[in-house]
Amino acid sequence: MAEGKKYETPKLDELEKGAWPSFVKEIKAAAQKSPMAAALLGQLEQSYNEKIGHWKHGGIVGVVGYGGGVIGRYSDLGDKYPEVAHFHTIRINHPAGWFYTTEALRGLCDIWEEHGSGLTNMHGSTGDIIFLGTTTDQLEKVFSKLTALGFDLGGSGSDVRTPSCCNGMARCEWACYDTMKVCYNLTMAFQDEIHRPAFPYKFKMKMAGCPNDCVAAIARADLSIIGTWKDEIQQDDELIKKFADEGLDIQRQIVSRCPTRCMDWDGKKLTINNENCVKCMFCINSMPRALAPGKERGAMVLLGAKAPIVQGAQLSSVLIPFIDLEDEESWNDLKQLLENIWEVWCEEGKNRERVGEFALRVGFGNFLEAIGLEPTPEMVAYPRDNPYVFYQTAKKE
């Protein structure tokens, strides 16, 4: 491709300075080859001058047979910057854990250099590889080359969004279940739901291997799967003593800050009352190696997190306190649960109502009944403190 038109960008040039890597340098690098990237610089400089964005909502664009994966984007200054008049985003389902070979990455780069702006996000907020900016006529070409390379599109719109996970067992001793396997298997099990939007709104899934939750599952995913354990914290008294000998004030820094105060330190030995431990990871993070999650490991399934739009932000709350996820049966239970949730939500959810908002609107108890789960005390912070109860008995009479 020819070099694009050059724009003066004094404001953006300012952001080439400084120690942090510069996104402006990236756009300029791409602009060496891509007239689209060159025009993006021009439009962005105008935004910096005017303090306002210049992108418009998309009409529906995509590849044949898919309803998601491409987000239409148009400039409202298309006459001035014709190269970015159409500037669509392609979301590509990333490999679980975001591991790559250079061979695969180079393959992606070659496709995108030929058929788009040469600009990417590694990665988008949901986890996808993002190809930023191309025209409608390039979409099928990109798609066929992607699939030849073994990649596929991710989710967008009112569908299952691309599931993502922490690197779990690949590189973390704290992983309580195989996050990458669960992520991959869920992704493969629900390809249709990812590619063809048919829900009231988006549905995100994230898997974290332990309660440290490095992928923000509890804040960002409609379905959050977070690793935990049932038995005792594994402790190595020799190594604990070594921490103390090296100057860690175990009483003050660890024991007195345990959220359930379930630890004792007599100056020599640490005793944990595991029955009261809530598996928060704090002591384990603070004394790695000396303490470790227990051996009876699995995960907790939570539901409903979302950002503010529409009715306000929510964190996920407990649906299944403990699930093994290693055996076939619990895996099938999880898939069945998801299908039950989607069925109820698709039937009764309002347009743009996330499942967490829906569950609260109809009442969490009613929601549980509809998806076939028994209520348990693990699901609440505390039982209700208001007496306006919809007693079932009275209704039936």
């Binding site: 300012e14 418009k56 790559y100 973390c172 932000a313 743009r352």
Partner: protein, 356 residues
């Protein structure tokens, strides 16, 4: 060639370095080696070194190829990216660490962000690529991280982890609502109703989109349209997401708010939402000095007052919000008091008070 669909992503095992394949699920512990570098040790005794480098997230294919060159040279062709958009180089060879770091730094990608440090800012598209943005994302992130670079590289020590996130509108792509410091783009005027609204949007959908019932059907010059009850609008832009004929952006009134004390980890305290610290700062490109200074001030308060491994929200709970506002020099205002759905829960309903 037959058109392939629904093949899903490549299986992750294809992309795992041999040392990971061999020790999958059998890691014993990890520890810091130097800022930005950690070693994972497996039960087998195998060691895996991770070198984490800063990335602007917005990457050209040229830069990705340069990453690949380094990974080929030092890491047998394997690399990964993190949930906070850093790039990580994985190697079993300790002797590769120093030359790799030197090359990364020469490329303009400082190494850091591991353990007790301030890592990359999770952020969104902004004016680079989103229709909804009330501010730019990349420009603020660049400016803030230029300023906080010593906390990333480990030149300056911090008491624990501090997570910063930025979203350029209330859609909040990214977990900004649960971050130690959240930078949030905001609109501050009601949507304008464009004359052609009824041709572009279904009026009942538009009316239903508003969480505060600030939109009602109306007739103007005999044409169906909507009107906005301006006092009832809290500028969420949900109506604009549903209907492009209701633009929100405003060059002078848009800007940034700053939120503090959220977290997603369950360690010690439960996950928490971020709370409003500064209701409004202006958009001041290219470097947003007001935002940079405010974030720095809040970081410095935390560095000075937090106990080891204490998160921002935990520290503020301990010292109290009045003291936080005093230390930060932020004027407490009407905007700080919630008036939405769960407002009552945020009021102080006890005589336990931090008196000064």
């Amino acid at each position: 060639m037959e058109r392939r669909t629904d093949i899903g992503p490549p299986h992750y095992t294809k992309f795992l370095p041999p040392v990971i394949q061999k020790n999958y699920g059998k890691w014993k512990y990890h520890e810091g080696v130097r800022p930005g570098v950690m070693v994972h040790v497996a039960e087998s005794g195998d060691k895996l070194y991770t070198i984490r480098a800063a990335s602007p997230r917005l990457l050209s294919v040229q830069k990705i190829r340069q990453y690949c060159d380094l990974a080929d040279k030092y890491c047998d062709g394997y690399l990964r990216f993190t949930s906070r958009n850093n790039v990580e180089f994985l190697t079993t060879k300790e002797e590769n660490i120093e030359p790799l770091i030197a090359e990364l730094e020469a490329l303009g990608h400082p190494v850091g962000g591991v353990g007790r440090s301030i890592s990359n800012i999770v952020h969104t598209q902004g004016w680079v690529h989103c229709h909804s943005a009330a501010t730019d994302a990349s420009g603020i992130v660049k400016s803030v991280m230029d300023d906080l670079i010593d906390y990333f590289t480990g030149k300056k020590e911090v008491p624990g982890k501090l997570r910063i996130a930025l979203a350029c509108c209330l859609n909040m792509c990214g977990a900004v609502h649960c971050s130690d410091i959240a930078i949030l783009g905001i609109h501050r005027r009601p949507p304008k109703v464009m004359a052609n609204l009824s041709q572009m949007c279904e009026i009942p959908n538009v009316v239903a989109a508003c969480p505060t019932a600030a939109i009602r059907p109306a007739k103007v010059d005999g044409k169906d349209t909507v009107e906005i009850i301006e006092e009832q609008c809290m500028y969420c832009a949900n109506c604009f997401s549903v209907c492009p004929a209701l633009p929100m952006a405003d060059a002078e009134l848009d800007g940034v708010s700053i939120w503090v004390g959220g977290k997603v980890s369950n360690a010690r305290s439960q996950p928490m939402f971020s709370k409003l610290a500064v209701p409004y700062l202006p958009n001041n490109p290219p470097r947003w000095p007001e935002v940079v200074q405010t974030v720095r001030k809040i970081v410095e308060i935390w560095v000075e007052h937090a106990e080891p491994d204490e998160r921002m929200g935990e520290m503020i709970q301990r010292i109290g919000w009045p003291r936080f506002f005093r230390l930060a020099g932020i004027q407490f205002s009407k905007e700080h008091i919630d008036d939405y759905r769960y407002a009552a829960l945020s009021l102080k309903r006890t005589a336990q008070l931090h008196q000064s």
